[in-house]
Symmetry: C2
Subunit: 232 residues, 2 copies
DNA sequence: AGAATAGTGTCTTTCAGACATTATGTT
DNA sequence: AACATAATGTCTGAAAGACACTATTCT
């Protein structure tokens, strides 16, 4: 079959991937943005992303851009497809269809500044949503943030924001940062402890800091969460 | 890049839309399939769909294919983006990225057989999932069906499967058909009546059939459903 | 001892699920 | 009257939310 442009009947589009990379840094729900160095939107903050190569899957393209532009490796994040954005004039240069992904990971000491020349930085989600972002990236960030908030309720996804071992208080901190609401510590503890295969007790305890040391858990095998942890 | 069309640096892809058109016909959760007339997969059942035009949005392309291939108009369905499928070899002819949509509508007397030469038919979802479908359409149907099943729980989407006026029993029938589980009529009635802005009493009643006539409702303005209707 | 954080227990309200009962039409 | 379906009511258990209380460390 011909892949050439002159011989077949199908219109061709550039296909991009864009990444909403989310984490919780010092209690603040944050998104990774990149300052564009070239037109269009030079000097404007944008999502990391780029064009899909001819022989790679969309998921591989997302992982590749994650590494190239954010310095984040495959094992460090949970990647999930968000939605595809394809309005005819979303990119002023040409018709680009962009498959957006959400990447959730634990806070990394120096995740910013990938191989590209552009500057990368973590922004609090609330601030990012008040900025002007390139293309339709404002909308994409909104959708990605809402996806993350919604999935915390009925999945065990919150553990993706934490390192291998964590306490119940740290897990609660993830919920509170992402939802922007304080949660009752007692009830939260009861709930997540009761949910089957959500948390696995490592037998270890924290030694850091003041107060009674907390048990250390690691993420269990459960994906869904029954009963869900509800936001109000 | 080597795949480029002489003038720019970006590889180009064909972008398609595929449609998982779902309805409940005589108590059976059903999906609309089209028998392919041409290679590849000639004679195999497939989802309705086609290539996006250069100047139309993805949503417009979905509505256009819905009309062309299924004879379904814009006002007759609720359309929602499902997911994008872009494995390099999902189409043996060339690289095609397909944006899949779910379309939910009330049973239409003669929705099948659109303008295209191919044959169209409603298939029970369970049967469709046991057939060999063209391309990766089996996976797409699975995802679309699961999306519909999940959204019934916490949204008012079930009304999309019903005509303008309907009874509580008919609404329950939608849930039972889609989930494949019988529900307790009393508890269901209590729940959907209590949910704010889910159902609006038209003041009219059914005259058809035997037994006490049922109140006729129309869909309210609520989108989310609190508390949710849970499947077990 | 006092402060700070972790974790458990108790009480009340809400709601799901099972099922009985009443209501209102047709034959 | 008998029947069929619609709609409401009652009871029980599970779980959410508020909050009191106990446990275990550090200074």
């Amino acid at each position: 079959m011909s892949l050439s442009c002159d011989r077949d009947d199908y219109p061709r589009f550039a296909v991009a991937v864009d990444l909403v990379v989310l984490t919780v840094r010092e209690g603040v729900f944050s998104v990774l943005l990149i300052e564009r160095g070239v037109e269009p939107f030079a000097g404007t903050w944008a999502l990391p992303g780029g064009f899909t190569h001819p022989e790679e899957s969309l998921e591989d393209a997302a992982y590749r851009e994650l590494t190239e532009e954010a310095g984040v490796g495959r094992g460090q994040v949970v990647l999930e497809q968000l939605r595809t954005y394809g309005d005819p004039h979303r990119d002023p240069r040409m018709r680009v269809v962009s498959v957006a992904w959400v990447a959730l990971g634990a806070d990394q000491p120096d995740a910013t500044s990938g191989g590209d020349a552009a500057r990368a930085a973590w922004w609090p989600v609330d601030e990012a949503l008040e900025m002007e972002l390139a293309f339709d990236h404002h909308r994409i960030v909104e959708d990605g943030v809402e996806r993350a908030r919604a999935k915390l309720e009925y999945t065990t996804l919150a553990t993706a924001f934490l390192p291998g071992q964590f306490t119940v208080a740290e897990l609660r901190g993830v919920y509170e940062a992402i939802w922007g609401t304080p949660l009752d510590a007692s009830n939260f503890h009861r709930k997540v402890s009761a949910a089957a295969s959500f948390l696995i007790d490592t037998g270890e305890r924290t030694a850091r800091g003041i107060g009674r040391p907390a048990r250390l858990y690691r993420a269990g095998t459960a994906v869904g969460l029954h009963p869900p942890v509800l936001r109000r």
